[in-house]
Amino acid sequence: MDPALRNSDVADAELAQAAARGDPDAFGQLIDRHGLAARRAARAILRDADDADDAVQEGMLAAWRAIDRYDPARPFRPWLMRIVVNAALDARRRSRVRRAEPIVDSLESGGLSPDRRAEAALLRERIHAGLASLPERQRVALVLFDGEGWGHAEIAAALGVPEGTVRSYVFHARRAMRRALGNLAEGMK
């Protein structure tokens, strides 16, 4: 990899262009930057940790193979996220099984008092219930907006919907999450 591209200030588009010239390390750097956001978006859709990781892997491979079709004049991360989201939606359609088990390997609760641990478990349960009550695209919009700090326009590009639709997704998703979290939401400032 060109040492100049190791700088964290290098734009995604430059790394993508280097990847299109056949540099896998440049693409690796893009994975480092966006891999976890992609994982969170895939988990918001699939709700099963292994299926979500498989979908991200599939999406990243597809992006790597199609990297020469990426237009550097456009932002990179919505392009990448759209591929990953589509891979997750495809996986969801293929499985047609909505698993009931929550994703349980997060929200550290070790070292907490029994009261705090119970509260953390309740919070996790309610977040899970809130997310489960949302349609897939609302979940992704919420995760990208509040979880990743993306703007409406970028989310719209990633989901292939108008910006106004994203605003509506976020609004409805937040309202549902607020309902699901109840009093826990109020006490968490």
Partner: protein
């Protein structure tokens, strides 16, 4: 999560909760695995790069060939239509206008005249 759903700014508290819920275990290992998969799945060879570069040119050549083929067939059909026109023109008018097929000797003589 004390802000209104109407807010146009990300909600930090909700954002943190979502990240904690969805990030999953061993994020570094996950990223390492992804990088490994991409590397294993095939370093893009020079041929792949060349193929990507050549794709638009191959498309252009295919379109040019299709246009050439279409123009050639159009030209051939126009020429044969003209020839049929010449043949009809060299026959006596009553054989063309008559509902009955013309006698064979009149057709033969029209063809001979063309030569």
């Amino acid at each position: 999560m004390t802000s209104s759903p109407f807010d146009n700014q990300p909600n930090e508290v909700l954002g943190r909760m979502l990240r904690e819920e969805l990030t999953g275990s061993e994020p570094e290992a996950f990223l390492r695995r992804l990088r490994g998969v991409v590397t294993e799945a095939g370093t893009r060879t020079q041929w792949d790069v060349l193929a990507g570069w050549a794709r638009p040119r191959v498309m252009a050549a295919a379109i040019a060939a299709a246009l050439l083929l279409w123009f050639g067939s159009w030209f051939a059909s126009t020429t044969s239509a003209n020839e049929a026109g010449v043949m009809v023109a060299s026959m006596p008018a009553h054989t063309v206008l008559s509902p009955q097929p013309p006698p064979v000797d009149e057709i033969m003589s029209a063809l001979m005249e063309r030569r």
